[in-house]
């Protein structure tokens, strides 16, 4: 016998048309609740396996069993997140879509961190000096050369050491932001804000150096 539903908000949702009613059982005790959690886990595992399969090229050293273990771990962690944040679901999408994103995030982060687990993350600011060789730009073009110098000078003088470290690692070294966050004891959102501020400062420096077109 399922526990009686005493949450008036949930009752109202259950009566609303078009709502996937099974997810409401995630908040109930007993067999109905357990069945809903099992259903949720199945969806999350499907999404996690999908993501790990898409990114498996970066984990070529892992066996199929190890890849599936990674997906299982991601689904388990995603289930915890979904259940903890059920109150955040605003019905602005289907519940399935809302839940999927948790599994995709967990799986993607695990894949990135696993792929970089044994790789050194270079946080030496000097690496931006190689900027001239970083892209396919026309190095022999005088104006382009001046722009590159303005960018190099901006990295050197307009950024804080932390901004320089993160910008160089994330953009020039290609270190995934989740890996950087883990190594620097931060989180994705905070690091991206730092990266965003660094870009804004660098752009302003380059504009002041005579290249307003970078804002076009």
């Amino acid at each position: 016998m399922p526990a009686p539903d005493t949450n008036p908000d949930v009752s109202a949702l259950a009566a609303a048309p078009g709502v996937e009613e099974w997810y409401l059982d995630l908040q109930t005790e007993g067999a109905r609740g357990e069945a809903a959690v099992a259903h949720l886990h199945g969806l999350l595992l499907r999404a996690a396996r999908f993501e790990v399969f898409r990114r498996r090229g970066s984990l070529s050293e892992l066996s199929a069993v190890e890849l599936d273990e990674l997906a299982q771990d991601a689904a388990d962690d995603a289930a915890v997140s979904v259940l903890r944040r059920l109150g955040d679901f605003r019905r602005e999408s289907s519940f399935r879509t809302w839940a999927y994103k948790f599994a995709l995030l967990e799986a993607a982060v695990k894949v990135r961190r696993r792929a970089w687990r044994d790789r050194e993350v270079t946080l030496e600011p000097e690496h931006w000096e190689s900027l001239a060789h970083a892209g396919p730009g026309p190095d022999d073009d005088a104006e382009y050369g001046e722009l590159l110098e303005a960018v190099r000078e901006g990295i050197r003088t307009a950024l804080t050491p932390r901004q320089r470290q993160v910008l160089v690692a994330a953009v020039l070294e290609g270190v995934p932001i989740d890996v950087l966050a883990e190594r620097l004891g931060s989180n994705r959102n905070a690091l991206y804000k730092l990266l965003h501020d660094a870009r804004r400062r660098l752009r302003a420096h380059v504009v002041d150096a005579g290249f307003p077109e970078v804002n076009e």
Binding site: E51, G135, V151, V171, I177, V214
Partner: protein
Amino acid sequence: MTGRDLDPTLKRLLGSGEPEIGCDECFAQLDRYVELELAGAPADELVPGLRAHLVGCPACAEEHESLRALLELDSVS
């Protein structure tokens, strides 16, 4: 030479300069945004700043691509 002509590395260094949301807000809005996209609705108008964030954040962009691809797979299976 305009900003659009910059090589990809310089573009990633300088960013677009367009108003954008952060990673947490992107995650909060991603399900709605992708469903709007797949429905042919003007997702960029309805969720301002998310597209610019995807351009600047490779991790969020990968997760956006994956969610969209997974929903597209669901719709045909």
